[in-house]
Symmetry: C2
Subunit: 213 residues, 2 copies
DNA sequence: TAGATTGTTAATCGATTAACAATC
DNA sequence: TAGATTGTTAATCGATTAACAATC
């Protein structure tokens, strides 16, 4: 009963999502076995890194054959928590919140948008896809009614902290911060900052160096 | 003539964006000096990490006083390439592309949306903010006309690779991939993958462990 | 001067890569 | 059996943290 999958570092988790995408594709094509070398080559990582990563999970390969694709995909899904379904509430029904709510690729990975809330009376009651925008002041009951554990902060930077505070007060367990600012939270709540600005800066930095600007 | 700022690791760049936000705030409030201890405390990092990070840039503090906030902010902006302005083209005028195009926080950081393109005839010609959606097949001239160096891929996963190929063919220097899939690019082009799914998985993993699911 | 805070060198920690015995 | 590929241990590399002399 492998308790090994606890506390896997983010870098390993990120690679595992890529392993899963690749292995799932192979399994769908009817390919039964994949080696660490194949995986490494397809995803531009080191073979040793692949095998080291697999030490984190409760799954063994077979010498001279590799890993059985279907079983591998199944274990990866479990490890990544994809066998679980997560309901999220999106705070902020602006462009970002709406885009996320309508983004099908998330629910395909087990992240469902259970509700979307806003504080603007003009937006409350509007339709987003098949949902109606609810009042942020009803967050506590929204979270309870929809069995929501995760919140997404999709409000302007200036309102991000108060949106987070509202989520925390309503009993949220974890938050994804899409606002471009830092948010302070108590230890009991998990938060992950979206890194779109950092990503863009990293990108512009790389380009700058390449172009010798 | 500090050539020190070349090849700064992404982890350091990410912290620098936070230093800048904090220091800029202090400067705006008229506070002239900030110590490494203040910075470390405000951003939940180690004091040594702060000083180590500053070795990457061409800026010195003064013993017993710290760092002069205005000058510090200026050097950080230059190091992060924020004195440069970058024009971007968004490929995909769906919800994600539209949200990004209308997101003011990006242009405030020097990332301007110069153009937005799509391949769907129904979308071409539509208005997004003050822009008109252009034809993806005109990418080469769009990039030249608007002096665009960076592209953002905001199309569904299945179309991401062909969007990237079109950008590369049109002469783009760097790409941010918002699609939830892996994209292969030649070495001369830089690419950064948005990690929103990885972020959500990291978050759900943390919550899962906390709740003992 | 005394003391606080920097810049920098050294120590630690963790993640990546290499090596190789075990095994199919 | 011979050889390929795993699982795991050891080596390397890089990033974080600690320590401390230099300096204001």
């Amino acid at each position: 009963m492998g308790e090994r999958e606890s506390n896997i570092p983010p870098s390993v988790l990120e690679r595992m999502t890529k392993y899963l995408a690749f292995v799932q594709e192979l399994a769908d094509e009817g390919i039964e076995w994949v080696s660490s070398a194949d995986l490494a080559k397809a995803l531009s990582v080191n073979r040793s890194t692949v095998r080291q990563d697999l030490l984190h999970i409760d799954f063994s390969g077979i010498s001279r054959r590799g890993y059985e694709t279907k079983g591998f995909a199944k274990v990866l899904r479990r490890t990544l928590g994809m066998d679980l379904e997560w309901n999220m509430v999106i705070v902020g029904a602006g462009n970002v919140g709406t885009a996320l709510a309508l983004h099908g690729d998330l629910s395909r990975r087990g992240f469902y948008v259970g509700a979307i809330v806003d504080k603007d009376p003009e937006r409350i009651g509007c339709e987003v896809g098949s949902m109606r925008v609810l009042d942020v002041s009803d967050l506590a009951s929204v979270i309870e009614d929809h069995d929501i554990k995760l919140g997404v902060i999709a409000v302007p930077a200036a309102e991000a902290q108060s949106a987070a505070d509202a989520l925390i007060k309503a009993g949220i367990k974890g938050m994804l911060n899409l606002a471009m600012t830092h948010i302070a939270v108590p230890d009991k709540v998990s938060i992950v900052d979206s890194r779109i600005v950092a990503d863009l800066l990293q990108l512009s930095h790389a380009v700058k160096n390449k172009l010798n600007i």
